[in-house]
Amino acid sequence: MSQFFNALVSKGFFGKRIRNGVHMFSLILFVVVIVCSVSNLLVPEQSIFYVSTYTITLLGKYLCFALLALSVDVVWGYCGVLSLGHGAFFALGGYGMGMYLMRQVGDRGVYGNPDLPDFMVFLDWTELPWYWFGMDQFWFAIAMAIFIPGLLAFVFGWLAFRSRVTGVYLSIMTQALTYALMLAFFRNEMGFGGNNGLTDFKEILHFDLQSNETRVGLFFLSALVLIIALLLSQKIMKSRFGRVVISIRDGESRARFLGYVTDHYKVALFVYSAVLAAFAGVLYVPQVGIINPSEFSPINSIEVVVWVAVGGRGTLYGAAVGALLVNYAKTKFTAVLPDGWLFALGALFVGVTLYLPNGIVGFFEQRISFLKGDSSRELDSFEVKDKKSVSEVEV
């Protein structure tokens, strides 16, 4: 494997392409995903090379979290907008997908009602609420699952950035946003299944959700979407738009005096980020088989920020690495000490902030560029400095 890899690199097949972390990460991820998929579908269960469907689904879940972390890095790492409410966009995307899966159940529910999901029958509702119409169409449901979070991000961003809310105040507002949505979704009258949420899904596009093939397919799709999102985000951040966004992070006032309407940039980036988070939610729900209001809980959004900080903010793939590592650790940790996770998470955050200010990825990139004796910044991280990069006393 590694010989093959070396050959590719040395032949210059990818030559210029694999010169940065995002490409490297995407390639490795792609290979790993193919290997896992094949090992699940083609290798017999007794073999030591067999990867269980449970593992596949777990990895698929991590990949969705990686996409969610990427969405936070886009706004936090590159534009300095610390959103503590991205779980809301993730959950809304998830609910969109959940509504579709619910309608797919059809008359196979406990009550056998062909139109109404079980929880509505249970509440003695007689007809489908208007906002459930059309959600039995896959494409419409996906479009809504992306459009609604995007719209919410647009309205929220427009109001917040235009009134020049920044820093802690903005973070608190994003927390309030996701908290308010959580309370709303807990209510049965909302028509989203109250605190039980949406669950007991049967199939997606007529593929059985429990089958190995569907599981592997969703896992593969999650990886593909993550890779596309990484490459697209990198392209955006390397464009002049990306440079303006970084300028806004480091000196918003200066950017305004250069003629950039900074609110427009922040709104655009915030919407893009929310759309990524929504995609993560859409892919997450069919794999875990449930979506409920706890996905909106403020602590979830804070966890995402820790993933990004651990991986290294402002590097894109660092966010994905952080999400994968921390979630793996969480799975292992909660198996041993179920109640201790939040303490471990807190300790991790403090530790990383103190000892790895640029995260794991930042740490290794510095090592590598040091070894190469390379002082240019070919490596893609725009290092996030602790001090404010622009000395601007008058703002």
Partner: protein, 277 residues
């Protein structure tokens, strides 16, 4: 916004949103005055940082503003560039453009560039990128997503690099520049925007004597093509560049005239120059 985009301009993507962009308006300097500041008062919770201030700047001149700390020089720049609202008065750019109606980005695109008191360059970007971001071109979201530098723009950046003497540092990140180089880069960023009026706040604070001398040359060479307003404390520096000097005191104009006239003005001697060792 500018003629030199030729045909490509017709299908620029952000033209779709052109109604969002302020109408491109050329400043009307038919009376030879580029900036009118009349009766401007800025009140910070009862403290008048500017007090019924009147000031006229001619097109193409190099004007020095001096005044003790707290005289209101920076506040005046804030008002002109739309950062601070004034309580009374009017500010006109040329005959027709009322600056009080415009936001900071709009004022920047109208052709007023500003250098802050502390150097504010984007430290993680290279010198070249700093200049690229400052170019006079479309600044809309859609446009910058796919923007590429044209040949003319590259040539122009080279020209600016040449003027500010940072050709050798073009691919260096701005954070690695010395203090004086950052100040020049910031002046270069203003030039890249092809402004009509440059507002420069204390450019030589913290510079070595050699750097100060270079800055003086740079600023004098800019006057004529541009109108330059320089705020400065350093009297030596002012003496070396000034043609007309305006003295601010407690938010209003105390005196105005040539350097000699100012130095011999009894009011000025009393409140300002008198303090100097």
């Amino acid at each position: 916004m500018s003629e030199n985009y030729g045909q490509r301009g017709l299908w620029r993507r952000d033209r779709v949103w052109s109604f969002l962009e302020p109408r491109a308006r050329e400043v009307d300097v038919s009376r030879n005055v580029i900036l009118y500041i009349e009766g401007v008062t800025v009140n910070f919770d009862g403290f008048k940082a500017l007090n019924d201030l009147n000031l006229y700047i001619n097109d193409g001149e190099l004007r020095c503003l001096i005044g003790a700390n707290g005289a209101g020089k920076t506040t005046l720049m804030d008002v002109i560039t739309g950062k601070t609202q004034c309580n009374q008065g009017s500010v006109y750019f040329g005959q027709t453009i009322n600056l009080l109606e415009h936001s900071e980005p709009e004022i920047a695109r109208l052709g007023i560039g500003r250098k802050f008191q502390k150097p504010t360059v984007f430290e993680v970007h290279t010198v070249y990128e700093n200049l690229e971001l400052s170019l006079k071109t479309y600044k809309g979201v859609w446009y910058t997503l796919s923007a590429k530098l044209s040949m003319e723009e590259m040539d122009y950046i080279d020209e600016v690099l040449n003027i500010i003497g940072l050709e050798k540092h073009r691919y260096q990140v701005a954070g690695a520049l010395s203090h004086g180089e950052k100040q020049w880069l910031e002046i270069g960023m203003l030039l890249a925007a092809e402004p009509r009026l440059l507002l420069i706040d204390e450019p030589v604070a913290g510079m070595t004597p050699q750097e100060t001398e270079r800055t003086a040359e740079l600023l004098t060479s800019l006057a004529g093509d541009h109108t330059v307003v320089v705020v400065e404390h350093d009297m030596e520096f002012v003496r070396s560049i000034a043609r007309t000097v305006t003295v601010l005191h407690q938010g209003s104009v105390l005196a105005e005239g040539s350097m000699e006239a100012i130095q011999n003005n009894p009011d000025v001697i009393e409140v300002y120059l008198g303090d100097q060792p």
